[in-house]
C-alpha cells in the first residue's frame, strides 16, 4: 500500500477515534443536570402539586433528557415516583422508556433523573407519584428533535464503508499473490 494512502488512512483513523471519544463525552454530559433548567412546568399529579424542571428543551432524540421533580408544598411521609417517557403513537414509532431516578439531596421528597427519548417527535414525560395522600399521575408534553436528516443515499454510502474496505483488502490479497507467483 502506498505511503500517502497509509497516512491518509491513519489520519482518518485518528479523526474517527476523536469523533467516537467526543460522542461518548457528549452522551455522558447529556445525562448531567445543568445549573439552570431550560424549562420549568407546574403540574398537578392527583393531590400533589409538582414542579418539573427539564434541563434540555426541546429534548435531543437518542440522548437522555435530565429532569428534576420537586413537590410545591411540603408533604407528610415519603413520596415515591415512577417516571417514563411515552411516545405519541400517532407521531413517533417508538416504545415507552422508564427513566432512571435518584433522590434529590437538596429537595425533600424531590427526585432527579434522566429520561431517554429515542426518536424525534412528540413525547410526554409521564409521572406517577404515590404518597400518604394516595396516588397521582401527571403528564408533561415534550418535543424531541434530531439533527437534520442526511440523504438516504449518503447513509447507504457511509454504511457500506466496511464492504469497500473488504473489497480493497481482497484485491490487495489478490495482488500480493500475483506478486508472489
Amino acid at each position: 500500500m502506498a505511503k500517502p494512502f497509509q497516512f491518509l488512512l491513519l489520519a482518518v483513523g485518528v479523526l474517527a477515534l476523536l469523533a467516537v471519544g467526543g460522542e461518548i463525552i457528549y452522551s455522558i454530559a447529556a445525562t448531567t443536570h445543568g445549573s439552570t433548567p431550560a424549562r420549568v412546568v407546574q403540574v398537578q399529579a392527583g393531590p400533589y402539586p409538582l414542579t418539573v424542571s427539564l434541563y434540555t428543551s426541546p429534548a435531543h432524540a437518542s440522548y437522555a433528557l435530565p429532569f428534576a421533580i420537586a413537590p410545591q408544598q411540603s408533604t407528610s411521609g415519603t413520596l415515591t415516583y415512577e417516571v417514563s417517557s411515552i411516545p405519541d403513537p400517532s407521531d413517533v414509532p417508538a416504545t415507552p422508556v422508564r427513566a432512571s431516578l435518584s433522590p434529590d439531596p437538596n429537595v425533600r421528597n424531590g427526585v432527579q433523573g434522566a429520561a431517554e427519548i429515542t426518536v424525534q417527535g412528540k413525547w410526554a414525560l409521564d409521572i406517577v407519584v404515590t404518597g400518604s395522600a394516595g396516588r397521582g399521575e401527571a403528564s408533561v408534553p415534550l418535543t424531541a428533535t434530531a439533527p437534520p436528516a442526511i440523504p438516504t443515499w449518503l447513509g447507504w454510502a457511509i454504511g457500506f464503508i466496511p464492504l469497500y474496505g473488504l473489497l480493497v483488502f481482497l484485491l490487495l490479497q489478490r495482488g500480493r499473490k500475483a506478486r508472489q507467483e
Binding site: K3, Q6, F7, L9, L10, G13, A16, L17, A19, V20, E23, S27, A61, S62, Y63, V92, P93, A94, T95, P96, V97, R98, E116, T118, V119, Q120, A144, A146, P147, A149, T152, G155, W156, I158, G159, F160, I161, P162, L163, G165, L166, F169, L170, Q173, R174, R176, K177, Q180
Partner: protein, 393 residues
C-alpha cells in the same frame, strides 16, 4: 498446491531468535484470540438485541444487549491496538520482529490482521452513534438492512477475519519453532477455524432480510431474490478460505460445525437472558416471545452439507491432481447449494416456499445470480485461504 503448516521448515536458529519468535507468536495468539472473543461477544449480543427489538422494542440506547455488543467492539479494538503498539515498540529494538511485521505509515509495525482488527473495530464504534441517529430520525423498527446496521455488523465480521489473520501468523511463526511451538500452533489453528465460523455467522445476520419478499428485485415480468447471490458469496468465501488455509482434512466442516455451535449458544442464552432482564427492568413483551432465540431458529443448516462436500472435493482434488479450473468448478457448484437451499431450523420447507414465490423464471434467474456470487466467493476465498496459509506477518 498450497503449502501447509506441517510443510513449513522447523526453526532451529539461535536460542535468542527462537525466544523472540516464541514471544511474538504467543502475543499474536493471545491478542488474536481476544479480538476473536470480542467478535463472538458481539455476535451473541446482536442475537440478544434482535430478540429484544422483536419482543420488547428499542427502549433505550444503552440497553444490556447494546452494552454487550459495545463490549465486544471495545475488546476487539483494544486487542488490535495493543498488538500494533506492542509490536511497534518491540520492532524498534529487535530487527527480527520488524522482519515478521507489516510496517504502516513509517511509524507502526504489527501483524496485518491487527491493522484489520483495529480499523474495523473503529468503524463499528463509529457505526453505533450513527445508528442511534438513524433510529432518532426514522423510528425504532428499522429493518436489519439499514445503512448503519450493515456498517456495524459487517465491521465486526471483518474484525473476525482480521483475528483469523493474526492467529494464522501466530500459527506459522510457532511452526518455525518446530516441536517447541506445537501447542501455540494447534491453539492458533483452532482459533482460525473459530474465527472463520464467526465471519460466516456475523455475515449470516445480514442474509435474513434477503429472504423477505419486500427485498426481491421486481423486474415487472419476474421477481429476483438476491439471497442466492449473497449466501453463495458468503458461504463460498468462508468455507473455501478454510479449506485452503487450514491443513486439516475436514477444515471447512470444522468451520461449519463451529457456526452451528455459535447458534447453539444463542439458543441457550438469549431467551432466558431476555426474560430475566424483562423482570429486572419492569418491562412488558409487545407480543409473546419465541421459546428460544429467533436468530438461532432462522440459522441456516445448508453450510454444513456444503462444507462436507467442499472437504471431500478438496481431498479428492489433492489426491487425483485435479486442475485448478476443475476444482473451482466443483467448489462453485457445491457452494451454490447454500444459496439454492436455504434450509432453516424453524422452516425446513423454506426453499420450496421461496421457489413458489419467485416462480420458475425468477428462481432460475436468482440461481444464475447465485452462481456469480459463488464464483466470486470461491475466487476470493481461495486467495484469502492461500494468503492465510503462508502468512507470517
Amino acid at each position: 498446491m498450497a503449502k501447509t503448516f506441517d510443510e513449513i521448515a522447523g526453526f532451529t536458529g539461535s536460542t535468542t531468535l527462537a525466544r523472540s519468535l516464541r514471544a511474538v507468536s504467543t502475543l499474536r495468539l493471545v491478542l488474536g484470540l481476544t479480538a476473536l472473543l470480542g467478535a463472538i461477544i458481539f455476535l451473541e449480543g446482536t442475537s440478544w438485541d434482535i430478540q429484544w427489538h422483536s419482543y420488547i422494542g428499542r427502549d433505550r440506547t444503552l440497553i444490556p444487549p447494546h452494552l454487550m455488543m459495545l463490549s465486544g467492539v471495545a475488546l476487539s479494538g483494544i486487542s488490535g491496538l495493543l498488538s500494533v503498539l506492542i509490536e511497534s515498540w518491540w520492532a524498534r529494538r529487535n530487527t527480527l520482529i520488524a522482519q515478521y511485521s507489516v510496517g504502516f505509515a513509517g511509524i507502526f509495525s504489527g501483524p496485518l490482521g491487527a491493522y484489520v482488527v483495529g480499523f474495523t473495530a473503529l468503524t463499528a464504534a463509529v457505526a453505533f452513534p450513527l445508528d442511534a441517529y438513524w433510529h432518532a430520525l426514522y423510528g425504532i423498527d428499522v429493518a436489519i438492512w439499514a445503512p448503519f446496521h450493515i456498517m456495524f455488523i459487517a465491521s465486526m465480521g471483518l474484525v473476525a477475519l482480521g483475528a483469523a489473520y493474526m492467529l494464522s501468523s501466530a500459527a506459522h511463526l510457532a511452526a518455525r519453532l518446530g516441536t517447541a511451538g506445537i501447542r501455540t500452533r494447534r491453539a492458533a489453528s483452532l482459533g482460525v477455524v473459530l474465527a472463520l465460523a464467526t465471519v460466516l455467522s456475523l455475515f449470516t445476520l445480514l442474509l435474513f432480510d434477503a429472504l423477505e419478499d419486500k427485498n426481491f428485485i421486481n423486474l415487472g415480468f419476474m421477481s429476483l431474490s438476491v439471497f442466492p447471490l449473497l449466501s453463495g458469496l458468503l458461504v463460498a468465501f468462508t468455507l473455501v478460505a478454510a479449506a485452503y488455509a487450514i491443513p486439516w482434512r475436514w477444515a471447512a466442516t470444522a468451520v461449519s460445525v463451529c457456526y452451528l455451535v455459535l447458534a447453539g449458544i444463542m439458543a441457550l442464552f438469549v431467551q432466558p437472558a431476555t426474560d430475566w432482564l424483562l423482570t429486572v427492568e419492569h418491562l412488558n413483551y409487545r407480543e409473546a416471545p419465541a421459546f428460544t432465540s429467533v436468530v438461532a431458529l432462522q440459522w441456516f443448516l445448508t453450510p454444513l452439507v456444503v462444507a462436507i462436500l467442499i472437504d471431500v472435493f478438496m481431498h479428492r482434488a489433492r489426491r487425483k491432481q485435479w486442475s485448478r479450473s476443475k476444482l473451482t468448478l466443483f467448489l462453485v457448484f457445491t457452494a451454490e447449494l447454500g444459496g439454492a437451499l436455504p434450509v432453516v431450523f424453524i422452516y425446513p420447507l423454506l426453499p420450496v416456499a421461496l421457489a413458489v414465490q419467485l416462480g420458475i423464471a425468477g428462481s432460475l434467474a436468482s440461481l444464475l445470480l447465485g452462481l456469480a456470487g459463488t464464483y466470486l466467493g470461491t475466487i476470493f476465498g481461495r486467495n484469502v485461504g492461500e494468503s492465510l496459509d503462508s502468512l507470517e506477518r
